[in-house]
């Protein structure tokens, strides 16, 4: 292994790796886990020398504490779950504590064609057999391979052909532990042909004194003509660190709308988002909004993989960086030679509002087809003085004016949120951050 083996966490990890090989965890994934572990030992933990991690010092956070690798099941009181409620949102609710499904706090959608449950209980499901760990980008990210090797559990969703969930599904992730813990949830959601769903994710962190580090992996599959609206809201707290990998696959004529909101709280957030287009005539919308304060670090690493022709992708990430927050955005677009008539657009706009705020933004376009329309753009700036003066000349104080302007800056993302209660909730959150 190439990583620094003096890390306490790393030592714990080695013990677990041994545990895995000697005790033989009780699932039928030994082959997959072992292969992932081998891959992980080749890649090692990311360092600042790892190209994709040049601006995100994860070692600092891994070294911070002697993390315990957490597998144990815990339960939480209803009051904890209630913290995640989104006012006026009429939805189903799924509560996961450290990735483990809590049926008693959940209100699962039921009906023909809907399979929802613990991942560990569905390793024989058709969607699992066909799709688990198949998104090929996962093998490139060492922390994702680590997750594959050692994950405990997560959420499995499979919607049969023509199955539509009538209300949004709100997944509440609770992260809680008795000691500093490294938690590795693993999820797989499969929408078969013509299926549709809206899924909202957010998290709760009830423990003020222990640090939890989540290294989660989500695979989503959007089959032919299926449509997934996926909203991920990251509002952690000072005791949370997160590496969140989302690996999506789209089949022909499918539509995937991904929204990622990172709001203040978590000191370190790294999102890996990759979409592999395995079929033609797909639509992909990747929307990101990150608002960071203090010395928060937010890194969005995105990858649009245009494998097949006639696909459209639209990516818009916007950032508001306050205080000495720093942001990283990487937007990789790969257009394969066969992917003619691709439309791939990418834009990353930032407001740098803190004196020491910083953004590192990198488009990475690799285009091997000739008949394509691709573009990318980047901006970083402050508020327009003219606009600020206009607002202030109407009696609006500087802070309130800034709040209005940040809401305005965010509006082309929040406007696209198609669940009104969620849209309202997000706008309120943004206003609250700016008015605090």
């Amino acid at each position: 292994m190439t990583s620094d083996i003096t890390l306490p966490f790393y030592q714990a990890l080695t013990t677990d790796v041994n545990a895995l090989s000697t005790c033989q965890a009780q699932d039928d994934l030994q082959g997959i886990r072992r292969e992932a572990l081998e891959r992980f030992s080749v890649l090692g933990l990311p360092t600042l020398k790892t190209e994709a991690w040049r601006y995100s010092n994860i070692q600092r956070y891994l070294k911070e504490f002697p993390y315990e690798l957490l597998y144990a099941t815990t339960t939480v009181p209803a009051s904890v779950v209630a913290q995640a409620a989104i006012p006026e949102l009429d939805c189903y609710r799924i509560v996961l504590v450290n990735g483990q499904l809590q049926a008693d706090h959940s209100e699962l959608p039921t009906g023909k064609g809907i399979t929802i449950g613990a991942l560990s209980a569905h390793t024989q499901a058709p969607g699992f057999t066909k799709w688990f760990n198949k998104q090929h980008h996962l093998a490139q990210e060492s922390l994702a391979t680590l997750n594959t090797a050692l994950f405990a559990d997560g959420l499995f969703i499979e919607l049969a052909t023509n199955t539509v969930i009538d209300k949004p599904v709100h997944i509440v992730h609770v992260y809680t532990a008795a000691q500093h813990a490294f938690i590795q949830p693993r999820h797989l959601w499969v929408l078969n042909r013509n299926a549709a769903a809206t899924i909202i994710e957010s998290s709760v962190h009830p423990d003020a004194n222990v640090v939890t580090f989540a290294n989660s992996v989500l695979e989503t599959v959007v089959e032919d003509n299926a449509e997934l609206w996926h909203y991920n809201i990251q509002q952690g707290d000072q005791h949370f660190r997160e590496v969140h990998t989302t690996a999506a696959q789209q089949q022909a004529n499918s539509r995937y709308h991904h929204f990622n909101f990172t709001l203040p709280g978590t000191p370190f957030t790294r999102n890996n988002l990759s979409v592999a287009l395995n079929g033609s005539y797909t639509e992909t919308n990747l929307n990101g909004l990150y608002i960071a304060n203090g010395s928060q670090h937010v890194d969005n690493h995105t990858f649009m993989d245009h494998i097949m022709p006639n696909c459209n992708s639209n990516e818009l990430y916007k950032g508001v960086l306050l205080d000495s927050a720093d942001g990283v955005f990487t937007g990789r677009i790969l257009v394969h030679q066969e992917a003619q008539k691709t439309n791939a657009f990418q834009q990353n706009n930032n407001l740098l509002l803190g004196a020491k705020a910083d953004i590192n933004s990198q488009p990475q376009l690799e285009i091997y087809a000739d008949d394509v329309k691709c573009s990318h753009g980047f901006t970083a700036g402050q508020f327009s003085e003219e606009s600020m003066f206009y607002l202030r000349s109407r009696g609006i104080g500087e802070d309130a004016a800034k709040a209005l302007m940040v809401n305005a800056f965010s509006h082309d993302i929040t406007d696209e949120v198609k669940v009104p209660a969620l849209q309202h909730y997000l706008q309120e959150q943004i206003a609250a951050i700016m008015n605090n």
Binding site: F389, A401, S410
Partner: protein, 254 residues
Amino acid sequence: MLTIKNLHAEVEGKQILKGINLEIGKGETHAIMGPNGSGKSSLASVLAGRENYTVTEGEVWFNGKNLLDLSPEDRAREGVFLAFQYPVEIPGVSNLNFLKTALNEIRTYKGLPAIEGRDFLKLTKEKQQLVDFNANLMNRSLNEGFSGGEKKRNEIFQLAMLDPQLAILDETDSGLDIDALRIVSNGVNKLRDAEKSFVVITHYQRLLEYIVPDFVHVLYNGRIIKTGTKELALELEERGYDWLKEELHLKESV
């Protein structure tokens, strides 16, 4: 209400206002005319507190307060309103939300509770009618994609909503069609009372037929070079500014 004494101001190191003296009493309406680039908008900007202007000399008193000490928002809260010559477009800020925020910030400053949603809507409707402001524009982003005339109407609509003591209208007439000019002027006239004062900056005598001023001032090269009554505006309409400039040069060479 407003006293301007020997006001000098510069922008980007360039002297623009070169000694303005002006006294505006309660309930009075003053017109300011003058050639392009003479400093009319600059004067309005300095009064409203635009930060790229630096006051190098002089004083401005508003109801006994030193206006130049106040932030732009506090000037507005004290009752100064500027209807911009070029209102900015702010995509993403809804007109309605903007107005409600402004109104409530002013109310908080005055120690009043935030306005009830219902009262706000009632007020909005009433003032919309006053200037015949298209209700469909209310939910749109602030001035975004508004026509020139719609922007000007929005300025007067805001003026009506915020109910200031001193309103400075910077070329509100430019961009308005003939009917709109009449409607907006009538709206302004309805707002006039013994407590409120207006400063109307314009190039055209026509507006002053609707909003009849008590005084007309000519601003030239950063100074007020002539003050008269509404007849002065008529004279300017006929003769232009050259005769005044000549008078000024004669005076200065003496």
